[in-house]
């Protein structure tokens, strides 16, 4: 009996092994489940025939989002309005979690080929990887067929939602890095918010309160949990985070070393708080600003309403201090349609997606949150003026809209980001030799870029 069991068990294992190894270089993993339409970048874009994208049968579709409880009322209203506006499509909105959790759910569903949403949000850094792999539907033929006014978006936003010349997503809730500051404090104490990197020394000295080596008020707080918040300082000092050869980084150059040493100097003086990466780092930073333990914080513009609601002082917003340039980068999320959906689902998804990105819906988001109006037709018209009357702090963003650029797109970007922020935090907190650490970091990043 034992022998027989052993034989059967071995045979079962062997069969598993054989079937496990049966995939080849021409295809394995999740099977293509597309039942029609294009499959990301692999197939040719369909002709721009409007009838090919019409919804003819009643259909219920899923929308995955990462909008927390504070936005639930807005989400419900928008979905309800869409469902009531036509008879064929019923949208069910599902909160998946953070951008990271939404990514996990999407990638898992894509690999399995089942359970995919019709429409999903995705954080802007994921566009490159999703686009390169064909996870996303190429929206170009939909745009052409339905006459969607893509040109009404800013160029940076269109680029941020494209990959390889294809419109693989549409800009949805767009934000940028911003410095929130205590305007009452600035007015009372005569503190000038810096416009240039060179002004940072004097600004931090004026804005910080340090007594006997103990910081009572930080000049500013820089989030260490996401390199997005500090990468703009590098870009504006002319540092190539990824060189043109696409396989190396310039993060070890003199300018980059100078930046790290300067940040460390401010941290040592007690002027700057470089936050940790743990789960409550963001809420701690917010609380420090609300409690007036920090004059300013670097954060996303999307949290403007949250800051205004929580602070008992006037909240100012300032463009981050620039260097040779004063560019910034897009944050927030885009909307995309997974390419493995069937064509009927994709058509319904496109209708909902174009509704979500419409001017009216976008303005509702902009008014009720801190996201930026995305349409040129809003920014340059009376509506834009009205918006600024409601939220005058957004003037600094409106003044610099052309300077908001797409994120760096590279298949190894997420790996680079993880390595970079870990090393940065270590260099800000630990007593380490910065030059040596940067050499190690560059070596590690170069290896990742070469292999991506």
């Amino acid at each position: 009996m034992k022998k027989m069991l052993a034989v059967v068990l071995t045979a079962a294992l062997g069969c598993g092994l054989l079937s496990g190894c049966s995939g080849g270089s021409t295809g394995g993993g999740a099977q293509q489940a597309a039942q029609g339409g294009s499959s990301g970048g692999d197939s040719a874009a369909p002709a721009a025939d409007p009838s090919a994208y019409e919804v003819t049968e009643p259909i219920t579709i899923q929308w995955w989002h990462a909008l927390e409880d504070q936005y639930s009322q807005t989400v419900s209203e928008i979905v309800e309005d869409f469902n009531n506006s036509q008879d064929l499509i019923t949208v069910e909105a599902t909160y998946i979690g953070s951008y990271s959790q939404t990514n996990e759910a999407l990638v898992a569903a894509n690999a399995a080929g089942t359970g995919l949403p019709a429409v999903t949000v995705a954080n802007t850094p994921y566009v490159a990887e999703y686009g390169a792999s064909g996870l996303t539907e190429d929206l170009t033929p939909y745009i052409q067929a339905t006459g969607f006014e893509i040109d009404d978006f800013g160029k940076g936003m269109v680029d941020a939602s494209s990959y390889g010349g294809k419109q693989v997503a549409l800009p949805f809730l767009i934000s940028t890095q911003i410095m929130y500051y205590n305007k009452d404090m600035a007015d009372t104490e005569g503190i000038t918010v810096p416009e240039k990197w060179e002004d940072m020394d004097s600004f931090l000295e004026a804005a910080s309160i340090v007594n006997n080596g103990t910081t009572e008020r930080f000049g500013t707080i820089i989030p260490g949990w996401d390199q997005w918040y500090f990468e703009t300082f590098y870009l504006n000092q002319g540092v190539n985070i990824i060189n043109e050869d696409n396989v190396s980084t310039d993060l070890g150059c003199d300018a980059a070393v100078g930046l790290v040493k300067k940040f460390r100097e401010w941290v040592d003086k007690g002027y700057v708080n470089w936050t940790t990466m743990d789960s409550d780092a963001s809420s701690n930073m917010r609380q420090a600003f609300i409690d007036k333990k920090a004059f300013s914080v670097v954060h996303t513009s999307s949290l403007y309403n949250t800051y205004v609601e929580k602070c008992d002082f006037e909240v100012g917003m300032a463009w981050l201090p620039g260097g040779d340039t004063k560019d910034q980068e897009i944050g927030g999320c885009v909307l995309l349609i997974p390419s493995k959906n069937d064509q009927a689902t994709k058509n319904a998804a496109w209708q909902f997606l174009s509704y979500l990105c419409s001017k009216e819906v976008n303005m509702k988001w902009a008014r009720e949150t801190g996201y930026i109006p995305t349409r040129n037709s809003v920014l340059q018209t009376e509506e834009g003026v009205e918006f600024l009357k409601e939220k005058p702090a957004f003037q600094c963003i409106f003044d610099n809209l052309d300077l908001i650029n797409p994120r760096i797109q590279h298949p190894g970007w997420n790996q680079l980001a993880t390595i970079w922020k870990n090393y940065m935090l270590e260099m800000m907190v630990e007593d380490v030799d910065i030059s040596t650490k940067l050499e190690d970091m560059v070596e590690e990043i170069n290896e990742v870029l070469e292999d991506a």
Binding site: L5, G16, G27, G28, A111, E129, S133, E426, V429, E430
Partner: protein, 302 residues
């Protein structure tokens, strides 16, 4: 003449036995052996989890892990995971035993206290971790409130590399110590009183009875707790994900979290798979060694 059966009774019995275990074998083949085989296959490819296509890259991923930039991450995760496991084993085995000795009284008050100690085991890890986020908060946490009340400086529990792993272990300890206690208590009740009476007659002290009777007689339980706790501690993920996200700067980047980061954040399923296989082999080797060593040191009351 008696007709000879088509199959021998032994064969019939074997077929029956096999049919009985077949569902379990099919289940194991689909959900355990097949994924393991698939994992081995992926480790020789460049699959990024997003693409439907991949190419075989030979030993490239294995070279990266054992003779490339992956080695230092492997060693770091190994160090962190082993440190964590030692911590959890200590809490569960030593803490559980101490609690079992303290709470080994059979009356209503002690029953209630045992329940209080044991209940955290059934609190969902995600909920418990969120509560611990508040407790350990640097500026507003209750733990730092008590520390600063004593005139000591506040501790950045989750943001400091020296305290981050300890913080994760605090949460683990809170949940695990009651479980260890209950397992030890049930084993203690099963030890025959005759041993203690005989030892007392021979003049053995309470300490001698503990070391010479209780500890040896608890050794099967200790082995069980050691193996199950060790395996579960090596697979720690949720508490790290919620509390520290592997930080600060990789100081809590345990094996499973590292695998998750490579697969889901970096889209490097190929690298995640080689680490997963290395981890699997390590677990297998340590568990096998434990059983081998335990053959000579575990005492069964038979």
């Amino acid at each position: 003449m008696e007709k000879k059966p088509f199959l021998k009774p032994r064969t019939v019995s074997a077929v029956k036995d096999f049919v009985c275990v077949l569902p379990a074998l099919v289940f194991l083949a689909i959900f355990t052996y097949y994924p393991i085989c698939k994992l081995i296959q992926i480790s020789f490819t460049d699959w990024n989890l997003l693409n439907d296509r991949w190419s075989y890259v030979g030993l490239k991923n294995w070279i990266w892990l054992f003779n490339g930039s992956g080695t230092k991450h492997l060693l770091n995760s190994l160090k962190v995971t082993i440190l964590y496991s030692i911590g959890e084993l200590t809490i569960t085995l030593v803490g559980g035993l101490i609690f079992a000795l303290i709470f080994n009284r059979m009356n209503a008050a002690f029953s209630f206290m045992r329940a209080v100690v044991f209940v955290p085991k059934y609190v969902a890890m995600s909920s418990a971790a969120v509560v611990f986020l508040w407790i350990l908060n640097t500026d507003n946490g209750i733990l730092n409130y008590f520390i600063t009340s004593l005139g000591l400086p506040a501790v950045d529990w989750l943001g400091n590399r020296n305290t981050a792993l300890l913080s994760v272990l605090l949460l683990t300890g809170w949940r695990a110590v009651g479980y260890g206690m209950m397992i030890y208590l049930s084993a203690m009740i099963g030890i025959s009183k005759d041993y203690y009476e005989a030892a007392a007659l021979d003049g053995a002290t309470a300490v001698q009875r503990f070391w010479k009777i209780t500890i040896p007689m608890l050794s099967p339980t200790t082995l069980f707790l050691f193996v199950t706790t060790f395996i579960s501690s090596m697979k720690v993920f949720q508490s790290v994900d919620i509390l520290t996200r592997g930080g600060p700067y990789r100081s809590t980047e345990v094996f499973v979290y590292k695998i998750y980061l490579y697969a889901m954040e970096d889209f490097r399923m190929d690298r995640a798979s080689v680490i997963a296989i290395a981890f699997f082999v390590l677990l297998l080797a340590i568990t096998a060694s434990t059983f081998k060593i335990s053959n000579s040191s575990v005492h069964y009351d038979s």
